[in-house]
Symmetry: C2
Subunit: 544 residues, 2 copies
Amino acid sequence: MYPMKIALAQLNYNIGDLEGNFSKIEVAIKKAIKDQADLIVFSELAICGYPPRDLLDYPGFIERIESYFAPISNWSKQIGILIGSPTKSNLASGKYLYNSALLFDQGKLVHQTNKTLLPTYDIFDEARYFENNSLFEIVSFRGKKLAITICEDVWNEAVLLYDKNPVETLLKKEADYLIVLSASPFDYTHHTNRINLLGGIASKFKIPICYINQVGSYTDIIFDGGSMVFDRQGQVIEQLESFKEDYCLISQDTFQSPSKIYQPKAKIELIHDALVLGIKDYFSKLGFKKAVIGLSGGIDSAVIGILAQRALGSENVFFVLMPSKYSSDHSITDAEQLANNIQAPYTKIGIQTIVDQFEDSLEPLFKGLDIDLTEENIQARTRGVLLMAISNKLGHILLNTSNKSEMSVGYSTLYGDMCGGLCALGDVYKQEVFELAKFINKDKICIPQNIIDKPPSAELRPDQKDSDSLPDYEILDQILYHYVDERKTKEEILGLNFDPDVVSRIIQLVNNSEYKRYQSPPVLKISTKAFGYGRRMPIVAKYN
Amino acid sequence: MYPMKIALAQLNYNIGDLEGNFSKIEVAIKKAIKDQADLIVFSELAICGYPPRDLLDYPGFIERIESYFAPISNWSKQIGILIGSPTKSNLASGKYLYNSALLFDQGKLVHQTNKTLLPTYDIFDEARYFENNSLFEIVSFRGKKLAITICEDVWNEAVLLYDKNPVETLLKKEADYLIVLSASPFDYTHHTNRINLLGGIASKFKIPICYINQVGSYTDIIFDGGSMVFDRQGQVIEQLESFKEDYCLISQDTFQSPSKIYQPKAKIELIHDALVLGIKDYFSKLGFKKAVIGLSGGIDSAVIGILAQRALGSENVFFVLMPSKYSSDHSITDAEQLANNIQAPYTKIGIQTIVDQFEDSLEPLFKGLDIDLTEENIQARTRGVLLMAISNKLGHILLNTSNKSEMSVGYSTLYGDMCGGLCALGDVYKQEVFELAKFINKDKICIPQNIIDKPPSAELRPDQKDSDSLPDYEILDQILYHYVDERKTKEEILGLNFDPDVVSRIIQLVNNSEYKRYQSPPVLKISTKAFGYGRRMPIVAKYN
């Protein structure tokens, strides 16, 4: 019934690294040939990696990609190859590119399917680059009929973002397989959504589906892989690993005795795994090995420290403790304990003499003016300068330790604790940071319990606590989730039984912090609405 | 022949300030009623201002906008009102908004035209928000036939970005006027392009055109206004002021004796006027009055100082001189001279003791390591901390002084001289900065001649000159223009007779600086390709 053998290659690409990506593609092709597969399938825009962003605006970049079509054609003398790539549209009018799935066989390109639905929302900008498809064909390949689609083309089922439904149009004609080339980013809801959506399509149209996703992190966007095969009843019968490169071969046997099915992971484990991959790939793809992290003795830097250690190894994490006169003793001992727990190197540099020197230098100008946030910011920025000096001198990348709650309300110092190459917790609310800490400690105490138990404090003035300026995180995170993630208006949130003054103040803080977030390091996206490319708000504006 | 009286209102809106924008709209309506106009025309998305970006994702925001339709309807009992606004599409599938032109008359909405061509390139993201139009109708209004279009809908003439041509489709039917509601951003080529394009359409279709643009600066995007009326021969017969709010009344007389036509301004004057408006609106729309600027004695901060003084007034510009042991005497005297020339207050704060304190604190860690860029960055970052402290304490916005050449090659310190709320010269190449300085001095010496004449230097080590690390700006700026603005590939630029090693090195510097630019303040766009929203490059990538 299913005599065709299909190999799925779930790979971790690097944007623009055509040579490196092609090497990986070749390795997978050779394996599939050895496995006597009829066809090997790669993900969307595999040759260049997704998202290439404005590299697509350089015609020379497209030509470099096209130069790989000849070697792929050559390999296709031995096996069918289905792979995603941008292609020139050659239209008299319209965008100059398509987002295409190319089928090579017997030494030549035998079929091209272009993407119809071009996601243009959140982090996606595909209408910026691509013209959309209007031709729907079933492809004959080795006696089987293939329906080939690309990512978003299967996503017009529940919420109708588009007035076309490529899957429905395609599957009006008979087909043996629906093959979906994808570059579908991670968020902690998405894998479940994919299973529901694709399972629904498989059972609705009574067709087996091969769904192939890329894996890896690309600056701010993490891809979890998790490629899958569905039978015509909509059951997952084969699943590739999440957060790792993986490969599988589908044959008649696969449909008779489903093999690898992974138990779904809980939200916090998914976030943990995604962030570790996000940090790891940021460093490795940029050619760096080591991270420097300012360790305050608080929960955020502790969690970042462990995530970095798991991504890079203990020997590649360098902690810097920078106490001031407001630092409590436990801040230092807790931080030292954490470093010792994971056997990571650390150093201690007091900031007080530098801070005093800044204040002395500014004294003539500030004479008679009240102490305010300025003095707190000087401390945070002094730490920023020290960390960046270490980053510059030792060639380590500074990891930022801000979380989504702080970033939302601007409870952070621009050019101070907002410094860094990557903001790994910038899409993780404070309550979720605590959950991450507990998850990290589940088998073995890495983060000293006192760091988890003590009340959060920035320690920028005597006896300061976060709760002096902000509502409890339990309340704060809920309000933020409604406003930032769900885009509810103030009026809608006021209807949800929060203190109206608190809601108004929090929303105003979020709106007033756009200028800060504009200059934040890239944030690893783990939710459906992260700061960065996916949320584009004006700085100069009057918000409600 | 043209008995209808049309008023054009070219206004400076604030994004999301519906109440403030509507007040301005009402003033113009009252004036037009007094002028006995039949119709008053406002620009694209006038009620909310353009570009509202992801505010459009908040359904509550759209409902607030819609609440202004009733008072506009009410005014329309006295005059026809044609105005741009987002409207809900109410489609079963597709995006939930249109970008619409609404015609109100006799107390009600009588016609709605939706935008067909949704620009989605460079700074534009309209496909992110809007569904496009497919209905083309001529509107009867007081015995005349109006063809109404929105901005991009007229821009499919020379370069065919779209497979539809709304103007051609519309004007197959007879019409008396083509009215174009626009939000067309400034770049120094654009006004001339508009005249050529619209003049061409007017003469091709033998139809008079009313073209109405918004004016003002919106974070990073400047709108120059320059609304125009064309006769059916394609001649400009009425023109509104550039970079200012303006209003005009078109009647039969206008077509008989063309009145206000402005001489086109030269490129540098356009850039000058645009930047002054950009700074002015950034401050006024955010509710700030005063700027703080680090004055180095070099050309960039000098030009920023004068632009800020022209935008905000001498009393609202506060200069800070921050010499180090590497600062030359002329840096200080030149900077003082500049401040005195424009009677602006300034202060002097030496950075050396702070820098020494940083180096002492880092000495145990850095012992035995070579002096390198780290020490230069500490100086730049110490200045950044001081300027931000002054910004925080006095409530002044820090103006950044980086230019496009520096930003391109990363010849700048993140969290150091890259600090600031707005980067006003970030789209101005160094050679253009020199031209600006000369233009500024054309009537009266504001910038001391020595600042213009001396070789550029960052003064971060003994006898340093920009030319130690970079090719001459004449060469550098050309290579950058080809690569950044024109998106030529390295191979294409190598074909243009530059030193191949220089080209390779410069392109590599540009590519390696994406992480810095990601955290830059918003850049005022004055060219066809500015850093910021209009240029979206991956940080983690392998560039060629």
